[in-house]
C-alpha cells in the first residue's frame, strides 16, 4: 500500500505554519542571527523577548557542552531561578560533569572533595546511589578513559546533559521543549510503524527520512 504521491496535492499547507515550524527549530537551537534574518525575509512577527533569552540559553548550552558545568549552573541560576532545585536529576548530572572534568585533569584530591561536598548529599535517596557509584568508580582508575565507565567522559554524554538542560530551561519559560519539526518526523515514523504492524506486508514500509528526502 504505497501512498499515491498525487494524494499529497490535495492537502494544502499554510505558509505561516511552515514559517512557524522553521522558527521553532531555530529558536530551540539558539540560532540567533538566522532567526533575525528569517524574520526580516518573511516579515514574520518578532517573538517577544526570545532573542535575549536565546543568547543566554546558547551560552549556557555551550558551557555545558564544553564541560564547564559550574559556569553553566551559575548562568542557569541567573536565568531561571529555582530550576535546578526542581530538577534534581539534572542538577546531579551537571555537577557530575564538573566532577568528570576534575577527574580528567587528574585533580584527584579536588575531585574527591567536590564529590564529598556536592554529590554525596544526593546519595541519601536510593535512586542516586547507583549513579554515584558509577562516577566514584572513575576515581578508582589511574586512566579513567580505560575504565568500564569511560562513556561518562564522552562528548555524547555531555551533549545529552546539555540537551536536557536546554529543554528544562525552555520548559521553565513555558515554551515547547521539542521542536515542531522533530515532532512531525517522530509522528510520521510512529504512524507508519503502526500501519506496518497492522497490515503486515500489505501496509506501507517503515518511514525512512533519508528515502523521503531523496524522492
Amino acid at each position: 500500500m504505497e501512498v499515491d504521491p498525487r494524494l499529497y496535492e490535495q492537502i494544502s499547507v499554510n505558509d505561516n505554519d511552515i514559517h512557524n515550524i522553521v522558527m521553532s527549530y531555530l529558536v530551540h537551537n539558539c540560532f540567533k542571527e538566522t532567526v533575525e534574518s528569517f524574520i526580516a525575509c518573511t516579515g514574520m512577527k518578532q517573538p517577544s523577548d526570545h532573542l535575549e533569552d536565546m543568547e543566554k540559553r546558547k551560552r549556557i548550552y555551550q558551557f555545558a557542552l564544553e564541560g564547564n558545568a559550574l559556569k553553566a549552573i551559575e548562568l542557569t541560576e541567573e536565568l531561571a531561578a529555582n530550576l535546578l532545585e526542581k530538577n534534581k536529576d539534572l542538577h546531579f548530572d551537571l555537577l557530575s560533569l564538573h566532577f568528570v572534568e576534575l577527574v580528567c585533569s587528574r585533580k584527584c584530591t579536588e575531585a574527591l572533595e567536590f564529590a564529598q561536598m556536592k554529590l554525596t548529599p544526593f546519595g541519601k535517596e536510593q535512586k542516586y546511589v547507583e549513579k554515584l557509584e558509577d562516577f566514584m568508580a572513575l576515581l578508582a582508575y589511574e586512566e579513567p578513559e580505560k575504565s568500564p565507565m569511560f562513556h561518562l567522559l564522552s562528548l555524547e554524554y555531555r551533549q545529552h546533559v546539555a540537551d536536557s538542560l536546554n529543554r528544562a530551561i525552555l520548559a521553565h519559560a513555558n515554551h515547547p521543549t521539542y521542536t515542531a519539526m522533530e515532532r512531525l518526523i517522530q509522528q510520521t515514523t510512529v504512524v507508519r510503524q503502526c500501519l506496518n504492524q497492522e497490515h503486515g506486508k500489505d501496509g506501507p514500509p517503515p518511514f525512512s527520512l533519508k528515502d523521503f528526502l531523496r524522492s
Binding site: 584530591t109 574527591l112 558509577d134 566514584m136 578508582a140
Partner: protein, 580 residues
C-alpha cells in the same frame, strides 16, 4: 630426631651405618624400611605407587598429608607445643617456611611484604594469585579508611587494586566507600586493636580457603573427615531410631534391631467392624481410628498406654478418612460419599456438618492455619469451606476419583489428590500450576512426608513408590514384600527423621522398611485379618499403630516396655476394650 632413642636398652639398639646416621641427624624422613626387632613396634612405612609413603591398611593415605592434618588439629585444639613437637619429630613441616612468613605478615599487617611473599610461593593459577592479592589490598584499603587516611586509601585503590583488573564491581563498591566512609563503618566495627586483629584473622581464613590446600592446610580438616565418616555410618545404620544414641569414635556405629517398635504392647478392641483409617495427632497425644461401623474413636496416648477417650457417632455411612486440625483440638471425619463432620476433641461434640446438596464427600483435610477445610467431592471436584460452613472455592475438573486421598502441604500452597487412576495431581493454589505424578499401575492411596518433600504412593501391583515432589516429581525408591490384591492398604512415613516406611498388608502382617536402603526390616505378625492402615506416632519414634479387618488396633513398641509388663500381665500384651 625421628630415629633411634638414646635411652633405649642397648640390646635393642640398631647398628646403623654412618650414612644412615647422618640422614637421621639432619631430620630428613627415612625412605627405606629399616628391618629390625625394635622397628616392628612402629608402623612399617609402606610405599605407594607414586613412591610416597602411605599409612593405613588400604595404602591410600599419604603419610605426609596425614601428619600435616594431625599437626593442624593439634594447633586448633590449642596444643601448640605438641604441634611443634610433632613437626619436629616427624620432620614434616605443617607449612613451608615461606607460608609461615606469609601468615605472620598478614597478621602483622605487612601488606606489601605479604604480596611479595605470595608471589614467591609460586602459585600455578594466576587467577588465584590475583584474587589473593585483591583480598590483601582490600584489607590495606579498609585499614587506611579506619585511620581516616583517605588519600592513602585512594592511592591504594588506584595504583594497586584497579590494575589487577579483576572484580570491577567490587572496585565500584570500594570507590563509593571513599566518599562515604560511614557506609563501610556500618558494616565494619570502628577501629580498635582487638577488632583489627580479628579482621586480620578473618582475612587469613579467607586466604587459607583461597590458596591450594597443599600450601596451606585447610582449617578443621581432620574434624571434617571424621564427621564425614560418622555421618556415613549413621546413614548406613538401618535400625537407627533413637535420638540418644550418640556416636562414638571407638567403634563403627551400628544400632541393634531393638530400637524398632516390633512388640505388640496393646490390643485395642472397640470397633464393631473393619477399621479403615488410623491417624495419630500431630502432637502424638491422640490416635483417631475410623471404621466400617460408621464410628470414629479418639484414643488418648499417655505414659500408661493408649485408652479410649471418645466414641464419635453420627455418620450414617462408613468413614473413609479422618484429619486432625493443625493444633490437634479438632478432628474432621468423612463418610463415604456422605458428609464431612467436624468434632471437638476434648468434648467429643460434633461442631459442624459440611454437605453439598445432591453430592457426597469422599475425603477431607485442614488448611495449615486451621481456618478452613477442604474436601473431595464425588463429582470429581475439590471444595473449600470456612469453618462455619461458608463455601470459599471450588476446583472443578478431573480433580479426584470416587474414593481418594487428599492432602495439603503444611505451607498451604499445594493440594495433592489422585485425579486419575494412574495419576496424582499436585495443584499449586496460588500459581495455579499443576504438576503430575504418573505411574504405570493404578494408585490406591498416598501419604505425604512431614517435610512436604516426599510422597509415598501405594500401587495396585503391591509396590510402594517413594517420590520426591520438590521441583519435577522424581521416583526415588520402591518398597516390596507386602500383599495387596483387593483392598485399599495404606502406608506411612515414621520413626526418627521419618527414616522408615510402614505399611499394612492383606496377609495380616505389618511391614516396615528402612527408607534409605529399601530393605525390609520387619514383618510383624499378630493381626488376624488384613491390616488396612498404619500410623507411626510423630512424637514418639518407638510407637506404631496398626488397624485391621479383625476390628482391632495394635500398638507396637519396644521390647523393654513389654518386659516390664510381663510381670503384671500374663502374656505381656495389654488388652484394652471400649469399656472404661
Amino acid at each position: 630426631m625421628g630415629g633411634v632413642g638414646d635411652n633405649e636398652p642397648a640390646s635393642k639398639r640398631m647398628k646403623l651405618s654412618s650414612e644412615e646416621l647422618r640422614h637421621l641427624s639432619n631430620g630428613s624422613t627415612l625412605k627405606e624400611p629399616i628391618v629390625g626387632s625394635s622397628r616392628n613396634l612402629m608402623a612399617q612405612p609402606l610405599q605407594s605407587e607414586g613412591g610416597e609413603e602411605v599409612v593405613g591398611s588400604k595404602g591410600i593415605i599419604k603419610k605426609v598429608e596425614f601428619v600435616r592434618i594431625i599437626a593442624k588439629a593439634l594447633y586448633s585444639l590449642g596444643y601448640i607445643k605438641s604441634g611443634a613437637h610433632l613437626e619436629e619429630e616427624s620432620g614434616i613441616a605443617l607449612h613451608s617456611s615461606l607460608v609461615n612468613v606469609f601468615m605472620k605478615q598478614i597478621l602483622e599487617g605487612d601488606w606489601d611484604g605479604s604480596v611479595v611473599t605470595l608471589n614467591n610461593i609460586g602459585l600455578t593459577d594466576e587467577m588465584t594469585l590475583k584474587s589473593a592479592c585483591f583480598l590483601i589490598l582490600e584489607q590495606k584499603f579498609f585499614e587506611f579508611l579506619d585511620e581516616e587516611k583517605v588519600m592513602d586509601a585512594l592511592k591504594t585503590l588506584r595504583t594497586e587494586i584497579s590494575p589487577l583488573c579483576i572484580n570491577d564491581s567490587r572496585v565500584r563498591e570500594l570507590s563509593l566507600f571513599i566518599v562515604s566512609p560511614s557506609r563501610c563503618f556500618s558494616i565494619r566495627s570502628p577501629k580498635q586493636d582487638t577488632s583489627r586483629a580479628r579482621s586480620r584473622t578473618k582475612l587469613l581464613e579467607k586466604l587459607q580457603k583461597l590458596l591450594p590446600p597443599t600450601d596451606i592446610v585447610p582449617e578443621r580438616r581432620l574434624e571434617h573427615l571424621v564427621e564425614q565418616a560418622l555421618v556415613l555410618q549413621r546413614d548406613a545404620c538401618m535400625f537407627h531410631n533413637s535420638l540418644y544414641k550418640e556416636m562414638s569414635l571407638y567403634a563403627d556405629h551400628q544400632c541393634a534391631r531393638d530400637q524398632i517398635p516390633s512388640y505388640a504392647l496393646q490390643i485395642l478392641q472397640a470397633h464393631t467392624d473393619e477399621i479403615w483409617s488410623l491417624q495419630f495427632s500431630h502432637n502424638g497425644k491422640y490416635l483417631a481410628s475410623s471404621s466400617n461401623d460408621c464410628s470414629t474413636i479418639i484414643w488418648e496416648v499417655d505414659a500408661n498406654g493408649v485408652s479410649l477417650k471418645h466414641k464419635l457417632s453420627g455418620h450414617q455411612k462408613p468413614i473413609s478418612s479422618v484429619s486432625w486440625s493443625p493444633n490437634d483440638h479438632q478432628l474432621l471425619t468423612c463418610g463415604v460419599e456422605e458428609v464431612v463432620r467436624r468434632w471437638d476433641v476434648s468434648s467429643g461434640e460434633c461442631l459442624h456438618v459440611y454437605k453439598k446438596a445432591g453430592l457426597g464427600m469422599v475425603s477431607c483435610g485442614w488448611s495449615p492455619d486451621g481456618k478452613w477445610i477442604f474436601s473431595g467431592v464425588n463429582d470429581k471436584s475439590i471444595s473449600m469451606w470456612e469453618l462455619d460452613g461458608k463455601e470459599l472455592e471450588c476446583w472443578k475438573g478431573q480433580r479426584t476419583l470416587k474414593i481418594s486421598d487428599l492432602e495439603i502441604t503444611s505451607d498451604g500452597k499445594q493440594i495433592i489428590s489422585i485425579c486419575r487412576e494412574t495419576e496424582i495431581l499436585l495443584l499449586d493454589r496460588e500459581a495455579k500450576v499443576e504438576r503430575f505424578i504418573e505411574e504405570d499401575e493404578t494408585i490406591t492411596s498416598f501419604s505425604l512426608s512431614r517435610d512436604n518433600r516426599f510422597l509415598l504412593v501405594n500401587l495396585l501391583n503391591q509396590e510402594i513408590h517413594l517420590w520426591s515432589i520438590e521441583g519435577d516429581p522424581k521416583l526415588v525408591s520402591k518398597y516390596r514384600g507386602h500383599k495387596r490384591t483387593r483392598f485399599i492398604i495404606r502406608s506411612c512415613f515414621g520413626g526418627l527423621e521419618e527414616a522408615y516406611i510402614a505399611s499394612g498388608s492383606e496377609d495380616s502382617l505389618v511391614y516396615i522398611w528402612h527408607r534409605g536402603t529399601g530393605e525390609l526390616i520387619e514383618a510383624l505378625p499378630g493381626h488376624s485379618g488384613a491390616v488396612n492402615c498404619v500410623s507411626w506416632n510423630p512424637a514418639n519414634p518407638h510407637m506404631l499403630a496398626s488397624a485391621s479387618d479383625d476390628r482391632t488396633i495394635r500398638i507396637w513398641g519396644l521390647n523393654n516396655l513389654s518386659a516390664k509388663q510381663k510381670d503384671t500381665h500374663g502374656n505381656g500384651i495389654h488388652r484394652c476394650n471400649g469399656s472404661t
